[in-house]
Amino acid sequence: MHEMFLAMSIVEQTRAAAAAEGADRVLEVEIEVGSLAGVMLESLEFCLEAAARSTPVADTDFRLLPVMASGRCSSCRNSFEVDSFFAPCPACGKVDLAITGGRELKIRSLTIED
């Protein structure tokens, strides 16, 4: 599904960022994946391997860092970690949630050799 598209974007953006840094080799890439980003970690891992194959980043270690989503109860303003879009507030019990984090999919850092 769309994980292949995302993997290809990550490979392309990694190469662009490495070129901008004048790097010879990319050892490691850290990628933050929010738990509500709509991305399956196993699937993305699999696709990254396929997308990187026979490119200059074929040996790069693409590390996926899961980021737990968080939300704020619109009713009592309590902030808490969530694992879905409709978790009840642990403080007041209402289901009235605004997601405040955990939808990101971003490349956080590159470890490179010059």
Partner: protein, 245 residues
């Protein structure tokens, strides 16, 4: 770990030290740079350009999303036949294969471009951008973008639309909003289609609205039948309230 022993692998650095020196000086070969690149940034950039174009030309662009077969094309066929003459309209059709939906829309007399995504399970900003160039988009018009039938991936890809319209038909489970929360969270309007079939099914409209409301309290609902036309005025009123503004 490296492949041949338990040395701890990449983390371990070779060090060089003279007698008397307390700390080893790690060999500086690699460095880590923070980049903070949003993986979808490229799509967002193109979509932002689409959006700016739509807004400056008073084109109401709507991204229609649903599971396969919920009735997107049927809704568009009826909408176009009922609103033609009053509102200029154009359509971008997204499907993995075939020109079928574009042919159905073309038969109503409006301009349509079919995008075949092949293996792709969603439209993206660049596909819409390229399709736009093949259409004559009049000011104060509506551009309907029928996305690939799929409730997962299209939720992640902004096309530059003013709003996402999610369609669920009563032949599906009323718990769809819980199973596909991303999509229901991203939509502005939910069309509940095929209500002509309600007498034959035990689809609970109230429960469906409640599930969807938990994911997105701001979501609006209109119940329609694209085949009998029931409820369609509500949808037309929703469109008329937004077009040309």
């Amino acid at each position: 770990m490296c492949d041949s022993c338990d040395c701890g692998g990449h983390g371990e650095k070779v060090t060089f030290r003279k007698p008397g020196e307390v700390h080893g000086i790690p060999e500086q070969r690699s460095r880590t740079v923070r980049v903070e690149v949003d993986v979808l940034a490229k799509n967002e950039e193109i979509s932002a350009r689409n959006r700016a174009y739509f807004e400056s030309n008073d084109i109401l662009a709507l991204n229609l999303v649903s599971s396969p077969g919920s009735g997107k094309t049927t809704i568009l066929e009826r909408t176009i036949r009922d609103m033609r003459g009053r509102t200029p309209m154009a359509v971008i059709e997204g499907d993995q294969q075939t020109l079928r939906d574009a042919e159905r829309i073309g038969a109503t007399g409006v301009e349509v471009v079919q995008v075949n995504t092949g293996a792709g399970c969603h439209l993206d900003g660049s596909m819409v951008h390229r399709a736009m160039h093949r259409l004559t988009l009049a000011p104060d018009s509506i551009l309907f973008i029928e996305n690939v039938g799929n409730l997962v991936c299209p939720a992640m890809f902004d096309l530059g639309e003013a709003a996402k319209v999610v369609i669920i038909s009563v032949t599906e489970g009323e718990d769809k909003p819980q199973k596909y929360p991303q999509m229901f969270a991203a939509a502005s309007l939910c069309l509940i289609n095929k209500i002509d079939l309600l007498p034959h099914l035990d689809f609970d409209v109230g429960a469906c609205r409640e599930f969807a409301g938990q994911v997105n309290p701001k979501l609006e609902f209109i119940e329609i039948s694209a085949t009998t036309g029931e409820g369609m005025e509500g949808w037309y009123a929703w469109l008329n309230g937004r077009v040309g503004r």
